[in-house]
């Protein structure tokens, strides 16, 4: 998916800020139809999302990465607080 240098360049540009096809085509050495084609592939893979902005369509990176990070941290803290609960019970049991 990202082994294609054009798609990689598009993802990196969208990582900076959401952009329309014309913006991407203007900035990158990629023709407008090719940009559209790459965006279609990236969209199908769930990597980018599009939204209308006036008469244009703006593409942005899917926030899935932040969601995935959240899930990881949620699992981490769930385990940490469970440890804390157990440890607190032990600490309580050891009180005179």
């Amino acid at each position: 998916m990202l082994s294609d240098p054009s798609r990689r360049a598009i993802v990196e540009a969208l990582a900076e800020e959401p952009r329309a096809v014309v913006d991407l085509a203007a900035e990158l050495p990629i023709s407008r139809p090719a940009v559209s084609q790459h965006l279609k592939v990236l969209k199908e893979a769930g990597l980018v999302a599009e939204q209308p902005a006036g008469t244009r369509r703006v593409y942005r990176l899917n926030p899935v990465a932040v969601e995935a990070l959240r899930d990881q941290l949620d699992a981490f803290w769930a385990r940490a607080l469970a440890n804390f609960g157990e440890h607190a019970h032990d600490a309580k049991g050891n009180q005179p």
């Binding site: 998916m1 990202l2 990689r8 993802v11 990196e12 969208l14 990582a15 900076e16 800020e17 959401p18 199908e44 893979a45 769930g46 990597l47 939204q51 990176l61 899917n62 926030p63 899935v64 990465a65 932040v66 969601e67 995935a68 990070l69 959240r70 990881q72 941290l73 949620d74 981490f76 803290w77 769930a78 385990r79 940490a80 607080l81 469970a82 440890n83 804390f84 609960g85 440890h87 607190a88 019970h89 600490a91 309580k92």
Partner: protein, 159 residues
């Protein structure tokens, strides 16, 4: 464009007075942090939290190697602990400006203490949430991040 940035909210009630709950959490964080999560290639011997503003939170291996992955921001015993979380989505340490934050509050509840943990500013770690020019070409920068991103997105797309 407005969007809600996801955050983690977790609570636990422990059968200790607030003062003691705060002390156990901060002084024995070593026993609380899930041991399997760390950034070092060698087994972690202990986790250390320097409980003062600016203090470091670090994992230490048996051979003395250290990995600093947090920075204490605020300590208000027995009610509040806040620290910066420097570990990015790829479990690599990121610069301070890309850190998220963890806030832990301790409040009396019956005979015990309600501990509320909030991990927020998660988008600080993500793409577009701060430029990281130095990391752009590095092995631990964009290439790794984007590979992981693609992996995650692929899983989602396939779901």
């Amino acid at each position: 464009m407005t969007s809600t940035t996801p955050e983690v909210l977790r609570t636990v009630t422990v059968p200790l007075p607030v003062e003691q709950a705060f002390r156990v959490f901060t002084e024995q964080f070593d026993l609380i942090k899930p041991r399997e999560h760390n950034l070092m290639p060698v087994p972690v011997a202990r986790t250390l939290m320097e409980v003062r503003p600016g203090g470091r939170i670090l994992d230490e291996a048996a051979d003395g190697t250290q990995c600093v992955w947090g920075e204490v921001i605020a300590v208000e015993p027995p009610e509040l602990l806040r620290f910066a979380w420097l570990i990015g989505p790829d479990w690599q340490v990121q610069p301070r400006e890309n850190a998220s934050e963890v806030e832990v509050r301790f409040a009396p509840e019956g005979d015990g203490t309600l501990v509320s943990l909030r991990h927020f500013r998660l988008d600080q770690h993500g793409p577009g949430a701060g430029s990281m020019p130095a990391a752009l070409g590095g092995d631990n920068g964009w290439p790794l991040y984007l590979a992981r991103f693609a992996e995650l997105a692929g899983v989602t797309a396939g779901a």
